[in-house]
């Protein structure tokens, strides 16, 4: 810091130089700077030297130069030496700034010059400018405030404010978006656009804020922060583009809050500048926003109040609540206007009248006591009571009374009442419907139920006579099914005989009702002669007829007829109650009708029906079920269904109860059931499950007989097969249209095949025939068979394992009568191999027999004791059998051939043996005498077949001619005799002497000559030998004799 110079000692130049303000002297003519001080140098940036070379023009901005000229000119002709004024100067660096020039005309160095001080008043100017703008702003604020305060409609006020803003802030667009929190929307409420460059006309009304911007904007705003955006700061190219299009340079948005909620924002756009908002501007805006929010708040509150007020007003004025004030005696002191539209009384009508006068008589005592009570209790709730409407109808009123006798303003009982007529009536109506339904349901039968129901109806609706007419099943007639009356006249009317036999659905009151399908009233019914009973009605004073259809769903099932003495006008209540009853009760009635029908069917059915719960217990069963099971119905219901099923079939229970097997319905389940005496019955059950009621409805058919038949059939069939098997008969069938035959199991067996390994096609069957017999099957059956006649065949077959069998077939062919073509062929086949063998053997046997018979000359005879006949056969010529049949008598041919001497004997023996003896077989010999008188011998052996009582049934005998044998026998006998003789002779006669010799020799050996001498001995021996010899001769003689005899016999023979 240079020491401060002492100014007093300085030259004027020094003062000139040190003057803090830029100072210069310039030539008036040339405008050249003549002298410049340091401050000027500092200020303008030109060096002194430069300055002295410049003219004033240099420090003036170009555009001001003409002004300068003028000023100079003025200066030249100026009278005053002093002049001041504001000008603009330009610094060396080009900065233009305002100056306050003070100048004095002087003479400098012989020239006309001016001494000028240039005070840089840029600050001042700025300051002033700012002050100005501030002032403007404040003014604006004040204006705005005024506006906003004064103007009740803040939108309008906003309008003005916006205009102000546009002007004041020099912005191009301002708008207010209101936030509708209910709908979560931002709505543009106000927009003002000022004149400005390039506002796209399309978007004239609406600022196009790109959505991301808007979002970001809103977010900030909601938080209560101010949002400011300058285009230069945006980097997103798309955004930039949008901003370009909009020509948006800067944007400012301020939130508006009222009582803590975000209500919206005010947005300002500048399309020229990117502004930094000044404090004052911000303040202005804040004021706006604050005031706005306040206003909004206020207006909201006001709105609420208005609403509430209007609500209240409408409530009070137009509402249905009846507010009245009565004194202790029940006299009206005040009545709200609603009485007028509710009950038809203006306030005037009610004041000073007694409350109780307008009540129905029944309710008065109750309400009087209530009035007493409220004086103690402060508040009483009154149940609905009847209040007379001005038009005479009764209305139901519900009321709350409060005691305000103490309050000076009121001094009475305040009644807050409400017309609850509809409520009460609808309740009554509902109750009525319920009652009716209950009354109907209480009684068992349809008719009783209807009567009961009608009684109730008549009572409640206060009508004299009521009838129910239901449509017949065919829909042609109406049938009277229910009646009720409330007084004598009604009763008389009902009991009056019907003028017609029936009411068809084509005519009459009933028909009209049905056609209209809604409630109909005939006032002056008694005068309407078109209705047959109008006269009767008239007689008993019934003048109004109300009729309504009874509907079940959409179907009309009949109608309800009510007759009353009252005129139509007085029947409002009744009509109200009756409206629509037809729908309500129709369903129940129909249900009962149907139920009745179904119950009848349920009971009528001869087949068992039952209803089983899901738990397996029987809920209901019909008579047939009880009958079938054989126990009382009461014992069945509640019991387990399973108990009636035979144990072997208990597993089938699940099938009968479809709920158990998951099906909706099951059909055709066969179950064996047990009846009470343990008899088995078969039933076929069908059932369906009703899931809603958890019931199974089951019906059954008794198939016991069928089952038995089935079983017996099965058994028969089995027996047949077995019989076939035992009898070894197979059966086969072939329809001519088919190549395939049907074979029974035995047929397969006979042929030695099984169904698995053999197919009875024509070819296969033919091959099964023996080759030599195939012709039987290969040719046209017609050749062999006569239709309808059973023809027999015997032929050979080759079995499955190659054996040859004989079979016997009996075949029948059935033809079509009309065409003569064969339809089918069937037959039985029997294995007769064994029989064939037997046959063969029998034949052989017979041949043998015949041969034998003829060879042996035997006669077989047979006695049938039952028929007392005799049969005998003789074989002649080896092959012919001659059989004779005769009565069993002693003089038949058979016996006649017996020798007369033996005949008696034979007969007796036979008889004896047959009837006396116990032996079965016997033989007798007798002689026969032939025609030529020759005698034969017969050996007759026979066998008696007896029954259990030992009586002979049959005797079979064989008579053999034993003549030869007999003769032979004789011969043999003789020979035997001879032999015996010989033997005897040998034994005795010959041996005797021999033994003598033996003894003698023995003796001799033992004793020598003691007793017998040798000579004696030899003598005796000789004698003995002679004896022997003699005997031997005898023997020879005998044999010879015999031989000769035999020879002779042989020759004779």
């Amino acid at each position: 810091m240079s020491p401060t110079p002492d100014a007093s000692s300085l030259s004027e130049d020094y003062i000139f130089d040190f003057c803090p303000h830029p100072m210069w002297v310039y030539d008036l003519e040339t405008l050249r700077f003549l002298k410049v001080n340091d401050a000027a140098v500092q200020q303008y940036g030109f060096t002194k030297g430069r300055f002295l070379r410049m003219t004033l023009k240099a420090i003036r901005p170009k555009e001001d130069i003409p002004k300068l000229q003028i000023a100079i000119e003025n200066a030249k002709g100026r009278k005053d030496t002093y002049k001041e004024g504001f000008y603009r100067h330009k610094k060396k660096d080009g900065t233009v700034f305002p100056v306050f020039l003070k100048g004095n005309l002087i003479q400098y160095k012989g020239r006309q010059a001016e001494l000028v001080i240039a005070v840089d008043v840029s600050d001042t100017v700025d300051h002033e400018k700012r002050l100005l703008s501030q002032n403007r702003l404040f003014q604006a604020i004040s204006d705005m405030n005024n506006n906003l305060i004064r103007n009740p409609d803040w939108l309008k006020a906003l309008d003005v404010c916006f205009t102000l803003l546009l002007e004041t802030l020099k912005i191009h667009r301002v708008y207010f978006f209101q936030s509708d929190s209910k709908h979560d929307r931002i709505i543009l409420m106000k927009i003002k656009t000022g004149p400005g460059p390039k506002i796209s006309s399309e978007r004239y009304g609406c600022p196009a804020l790109p959505f991301p911007v808007l979002q970001h904007l809103i977010e900030r705003l909601r938080k209560g922060r101010v949002f400011s955006m300058k285009r230069s700061k945006i980097s997103d190219p798309s955004l930039v583009e949008t901003l370009e299009t909009e020509n948006l340079k800067s944007l400012l948005a301020l939130p508006v809050f009222s009582s803590g909620t975000f209500r919206g924002f005010i947005g300002l756009e500048d399309h020229e500048l990117e502004r930094n908002w000044t404090k004052e501007e911000v303040q202005l805006l804040n004021t706006l926003t604050t005031n706005l929010s306040h206003l909004i708040n206020q207006s909201d509150v006001l709105d609420k109040v208005k609403n509430s007020e209007s609500r209240f007003k409408s409530l009070v004025l137009n509402g249905t609540d009846l507010i009245s004030i009565v004194d202790m005696d029940g006299i009206y002191r005040y009545a709200s206007p609603s009485f007028d539209n509710q009950l038809g009384y203006s306030t005037h009508d009610l004041i000073d009248t007694c409350f109780f006068d307008r009540l129905s008589n029944e309710d008065v005592p109750r309400l009087r006591s209530a009035l007493e009570m409220v004086q103690e209790a402060q508040k009483v709730e009154i149940e609905p009571f009847r209040f007379k409407h001005s038009n005479g109808n009764w209305k139901w009123i519900e009321s709350i009374w409060s005691n305000h006798l103490g309050e000076t303003n009121i001094q009475g009982i305040v009644m807050n009442s409400k017309d609850v007529t509809d409520r009460v009536r609808s309740k009554l109506k509902k109750e009525l419907v319920l009652d009716l339904v209950k009354a109907f349901g209480n009684k068992g039968s349809l008719r009783e139920g209807l009567d009961n129901m009608l009684e109730k109806l008549a009572k409640v609706c206060e009508i004299e006579a009521a009838e129910v007419w239901l449509k017949s099943k065919d829909g042609a007639k109406f049938i009277l099914l229910g009646q009720a009356s409330r007084d004598k006249d009604g009763e008389l009317f009902l009991n009056h005989p019907m003028p017609v036999d029936f009411f068809s659905t084509g005519t009459g009151v009933q028909c009209k009702i049905e056609r209209a399908n809604e409630l109909m009233i005939w006032d002056d019914f008694d005068k309407k002669s078109e209705f047959v009973r109008s006269n009767v009605a008239k007689k008993f004073g019934l003048r109004t007829c109300i009729g309504l259809p009874i509907l079940s769903g959409q179907e009309s099932i009949g109608c309800l007829l009510l007759l009353s003495k009252k005129p139509k006008d007085e029947l409002d209540d009744a009509i109200y109650l009756l409206e629509g009853i037809g729908h309500q009760i129709g369903g129940t009635i129909k249900q009962k009708m149907v139920l009745r029908e179904y119950l009848e069917f349920f009971e009528l059915s001869p087949d068992p029906f039952c209803i089983i719960g899901f738990d397996g217990r029987i809920k209901q069963a019909n008579e047939a079920f009880a009958r079938v099971i054989g126990i009382n119905r009461t014992q069945i219901v509640g019991g387990e269904f399973e108990a009636f099923i035979h144990e072997s079939n208990r597993d089938k229970l699940d099938l009968v109860l479809p709920n158990r097997c998951g099906l909706g319905r099951t059909d055709g389940v066969e179950i064996r059931m047990l009846s009470v005496n343990n008899m088995e019955k078969w039933f076929i059950w069908s059932s369906t499950a009703n899931k809603d009621h958890e019931l199974v409805l089951a019906v059954a058919k008794d198939i016991t007989d069928q089952k038995e038949l089935e079983q017996s059939f099965k058994m028969s069939n089995a027996r047949l097969h077995r019989a076939h098997r035992i009898a070894k008969i197979g059966y086969w069938y072939r329809s001519f249209s088919s190549d395939l035959s049907e074979w029974s199991p035995e047929t397969y067996r006979i042929f030695g095949y099984t169904p698995e390994n053999f197919l009875p096609t024509m070819e296969n069957v033919t091959n099964a025939f023996h080759p030599e017999d195939r012709h039987l099957i290969e040719e046209n059956p017609n050749n062999h068979l006569e239709p309808g006649v059973i023809t027999k065949f015997e032929h050979r077959i080759i079995t499955g394992n190659g054996a040859v069998k004989w079979v016997h077939q009996e075949i029948q062919m059935i033809i079509d009568e009309s065409t003569g073509e064969p339809l089918h062929i069937e037959g039985t086949v029997r294995d007769i191999t064994k029989e064939k063998e037997y046959e063969l053997q029998l034949r052989i046997s017979k041949e043998r027999f015949l041969l034998a018979m003829s060879a042996s000359k035997q006669v077989i005879w047979e006695l049938d004791h039952r028929s007392k006949t005799m049969l005998y056969c003789q074989v002649s010529n080896r092959i012919e059998e001659q059989i004779t049949k005769q009565a069993f008598e002693i003089d038949n041919d058979w016996f006649r051939r017996i020798h007369p001497k033996d005949r008696e004997f034979v007969w007796d023996t036979l008889e004896n043996h047959l009837f006396e003896s116990e032996k079965d077989d016997w033989a007798i010999e007798y002689r026969t005498i032939s025609e030529n008188g020759s005698i034969g011998h017969v050996l007759d052996s026979f066998y008696v077949q007896r029954d259990c009582n030992n009586n002979p049934i049959k005797t079979i005998g064989s008579a053999t001619d034993v003549t030869v044998a007999r003769e032979q026998l004789e011969k043999i006998k003789n020979q035997n005799k001879m032999l015996t003789e010989i033997a005897w002779l040998q034994s005795h006669a010959i041996r005797s002497p021999l033994t003598r010799i033996m003894s003698l020799l023995m003796h001799h050996k033992a004793y020598g000559e003691e007793i017998f001498s040798t000579m004696d001995l030899l003598d005796i021996i000789s004698t003995s030998i002679d004896e022997i010899d003699k005997e031997l001769h005898k023997v020879i003689k005998i044999t010879n004799k015999k031989f000769h005899n035999d020879q002779g016999n042989i020759i004779n023979r």
Partner: protein
């Protein structure tokens, strides 16, 4: 009872020889000879109280052996008789017939030799004499 042996045979020599043999074998019992059944029977009838051992031949005149047995059997009086048929017959039929008859104790084939006597004795010894 006293025993007595009767020899009933029509052949004298046989009787003689038999008597000899028997006397040697069975001592102490008297032997009487008859030449036909009738005689023997008569004798037995007259002397019923003896135990008779009869050797009987079959082939005899007047009354042969069979007849004798039959007659003896049908005697009304009680006799004690054991008959031994002694015959030359070798006919088995005779043997069987004899054995089938009551009173016939044995059947002996002629000749009555030592051996026959031995076996007779054995048989007899079996029975109490």
């Amino acid at each position: 009872m006293t025993k007595e042996i009767l020899l009933i045979d029509d052949d004298a020599i046989t009787n003689f020889l038999n008597q000899n043999l028997i006397e040697q074998k069975i001592k102490g019992i008297p032997i009487t000879i008859f030449y036909n059944g009738l005689e023997g029977l008569k004798y037995i009838k007259n002397n019923p109280d003896k135990h008779y051992i009869v050797f009987l031949d079959i082939n005899m005149p007047v009354m042969n052996g069979w007849e004798f047995i039959e007659a003896a059997d049908s005697l009304t009086i009680e006799t004690c008789m054991e008959i031994h048929v002694l015959t030359s017959s070798i006919n088995p039929g005779d043997r069987d017939r004899a054995n089938g008859l009551p009173n016939v104790a044995s059947f002996i084939e002629k000749p009555l030799d030592e051996l026959a006597m031995e076996s007779f004795m054995v048989a007899k010894l079996k029975k109490p004499l």
